[in-house]
């Protein structure tokens, strides 16, 4: 018996540090490697302006991917986020154009509430069909991806939905372009969303249940967790995150088009996985996800800043870099 003590002792703080290393730090090290690559390719890469541009641009995917972290760590998947973003943006702009409320500020505030509501509802739709219908999330969200996109195209009559009021646009624009304490507003929003996400996932019992459901559904069920409710809730959170991303997106170009949000789902999932969350569920890393979203945007940025490859082959280089980043991350995880 005495011996057991000595074994456990070696598993104290030292192990926790090692745990942290393995999982959480690896994506950040891969990110650092990308920074080195960027700096080599173009000295401008490390300029504050460029980095802030990239950080700001990554905000949509980062915010959506925070939601995806919930969905994926509960063992789900959401392919509809890109189309959902287009739909939410479209409806939000249509509402803003309707000028149904007096006062631009009130209108804008209500518009944001409308966006959040539509996002939550779209998420609820996904969650409800998946849990009540007991259908694979892959199929359901592939279906709703087509549905949301179609409805957007229909609302836009095949074209685009743009904010009409110049005044309102000018008032709204700073949400994307504004700077507060040296950091662009979208970056603050990422930080806020990340803190809130991390709080919910790591510090509340709901977050615990998310991980439990993703780790072993049966066990969660036997433990009295309402598996369906938790699962549906992750899709609602995903919808709300999409809506937040839209609130940052709309002021940038002031329009929703048929291409808005195209392929965002793949980018969001990639960000989540690169960030260290496993697709099979049971693990969720909010900060890794944000780091992953940033990495994706940086790879694109490096491609444009570099002069090395033909524009035809950029996709190939980009794909290779992502695989290598993942490889670096996995190797680091194993080493530590």
């Amino acid at each position: 018996m005495t011996d057991t003590k000595t074994i456990t002792d070696t598993r104290g703080f030292g192990r926790k540090l090692a745990d942290l290393d393995k999982t959480a730090v690896a994506p950040f090290l891969a990110l650092a490697a990308l920074f080195v690559l960027g700096a080599l390719v173009n000295p401008n890469f490390l300029s504050i302006d460029n980095l802030l541009n990239v950080l700001t641009r990554s905000s949509f995917i980062a915010i959506i991917a925070i939601g995806a972290t919930f969905v994926i760590s509960a063992g789900g998947l959401d392919l509809s986020v890109g189309s959902m973003a287009a739909l939410v943006a479209g409806i939000m702009i249509l509402f803003l154009n309707s000028a149904s409320i007096d006062g631009d500020v009130a209108m804008l505030a209500t518009g944001i509430v409308v966006a959040l509501g539509v996002g939550a509802l779209a998420g609820l739709l996904n969650g409800a069909v998946i849990t009540i219908g007991k259908i694979e999330p892959f199929i359901v969200t592939l279906g709703t991806m087509a549905i949301f996109r179609s409805v957007t195209v229909w609302l836009a009559d095949g074209g685009s939905i743009a904010m009409k009021s110049i005044a309102m646009r000018n008032m709204f624009r700073p949400v994307y372009t504004g700077v507060f304490l040296g950091l662009p507003i979208p970056v603050w929003i990422i930080i806020a969303a990340g803190l809130l996400g991390a709080f919910i996932l790591y510090k509340t019992s709901f977050g615990r249940h998310v991980i439990a459901v993703g780790s072993n559904e049966d066990v969660a069920k036997y433990s009295g967790i309402h598996v369906n409710r938790v699962r549906a809730m992750t899709y609602i959170i995903q919808g709300i995150c999409v809506a937040i991303a839209v609130v940052v997106y709309v002021p940038r170009l002031g329009a929703a088009t048929t291409t808005t949000g195209m392929l965002w789902e793949l980018q969001a999932i990639t960000a989540v996985v690169i960030g260290g969350t496993a697709l099979r569920g049971g693990v969720g890393r909010i900060w890794g996800t944000i780091c992953g979203a940033f990495m994706l945007e940086i790879v694109g940025n490096i491609m444009v800043l570099s002069n090395i490859v033909s524009e035809y082959l950029i996709g190939a280089v980009q794909g290779t870099i992502i695989i290598i980043a993942m490889l670096v991350q996995r190797t680091l995880q194993k080493k530590k």
């Binding site: 074209g159 685009s160 743009a162 170009l253 195209m262």
Partner: protein, 292 residues
């Protein structure tokens, strides 16, 4: 006037601004034409890619049609499927993208892609004489290649230097990003050419945000209403646009219908100009109700 005629229209799905415009004009034209000719039935089908367009062509012919108006995704791919349609005795009108075998098409309504690039290139050459230009291309497909080639030919040997070319996927978001990165990469840019007005919107926003003043010109193309309005309003940075109207599908439909209902048979080739839109003629091309 009671002649029964079935016409099918097969076009790409509305997956970005311009194709969205095509769908809009096709549906509008169909309503007008059907109203004018009681025996006329027009079926419009959109397809997301070449292979599904080939499927749609099969399905439409199975239903029995007299004429087909099509804007093919890709002429190489759709030549064979269209040949099969033709072999069933259907009148074939091809829009925008000429087939590899011209004997298939009874009528060809051509938007002129190389011309779009050439007109833009000529304008830059004449206005700037010398200068550094960045280019944002669309997606790597034939149309894009043709426009690019027209542009490259026009500026060949002049003082216009292309600093960089990237694909913006005909998306304003992607164009915005690429333009931001161009601005980081190149301290001085004189002009931007993007193959499509949708992308020009993103480019203008990026320039605006960066507060850069060195860029003199942003040339788009295709005649999107917002851009035409800028031209009409005399915006200094966007003094011109090159027309490439999605309404060409409507023109093609009208001509095809005329072949059946008017006495004159309509055959051959109708080439639409890539008209240069300037402040002077912009009003003519501004349709505030069009979605594009």
């Amino acid at each position: 006037q009671d002649k029964e005629v079935n016409i099918a229209v097969s076009i790409p799905a509305a997956d970005h601004g311009w194709t969205g415009g095509v769908v809009y004009h096709a549906e509008r034209a169909a309503k007008l034409l059907e109203a004018a000719h009681p025996g006329l039935k027009i079926t419009i089908k959109t397809s997301p890619d070449g292979a599904s367009q080939a499927n749609a062509l099969e399905d439409l012919t199975t239903q029995g049609i007299d004429a087909l108006v099509t804007l093919p995704h890709n002429s190489d791919e759709l030549t064979d499927p269209l040949r099969q349609v033709k072999e069933k005795g259907v009148f074939v009108t091809v829009v925008d993208r000429a087939l590899s075998d011209p004997t298939i098409q009874d009528l060809y309504v051509a938007g002129n892609n190389p011309e779009l690039g050439r007109v833009a290139g000529e304008y830059l050459k004449d206005t700037l004489k010398t200068g550094d230009v960045v280019v944002i291309r669309g997606l790597p497909i034939v149309i894009d290649e043709e426009r690019q080639k027209g542009f490259d030919d026009a500026i060949a040997g002049s003082g216009i230097k292309v600093l960089d070319k990237q694909f913006g996927n005909w998306s304003r978001d992607d164009a915005f990003k690429i333009m931001q990165d161009y601005l980081t990469k190149f301290p001085k840019i004189d002009a931007v050419w993007c193959q499509d007005d949708d992308m020009a919107v993103g480019v203008l926003e990026a320039i605006d945000q960066a507060k850069r003043t060195d860029i003199k010109l942003v040339i788009g193309g295709a005649g999107m209403k917002d851009m035409i309005k800028r031209v009409a309003d005399g915006d200094a940075m966007t003094p011109i646009n090159v027309l490439y109207p999605p309404s060409m599908i409507a023109t093609a439909m009208e001509l095809t219908v005329a072949n059946f209902y008017d006495q004159v048979p309509v055959r051959g080739k109708y080439i639409l100009d890539a008209t240069l839109v300037t402040k002077d003629n912009a009003k003519e091309f501004y349709f505030p109700d069009s979605p594009f």
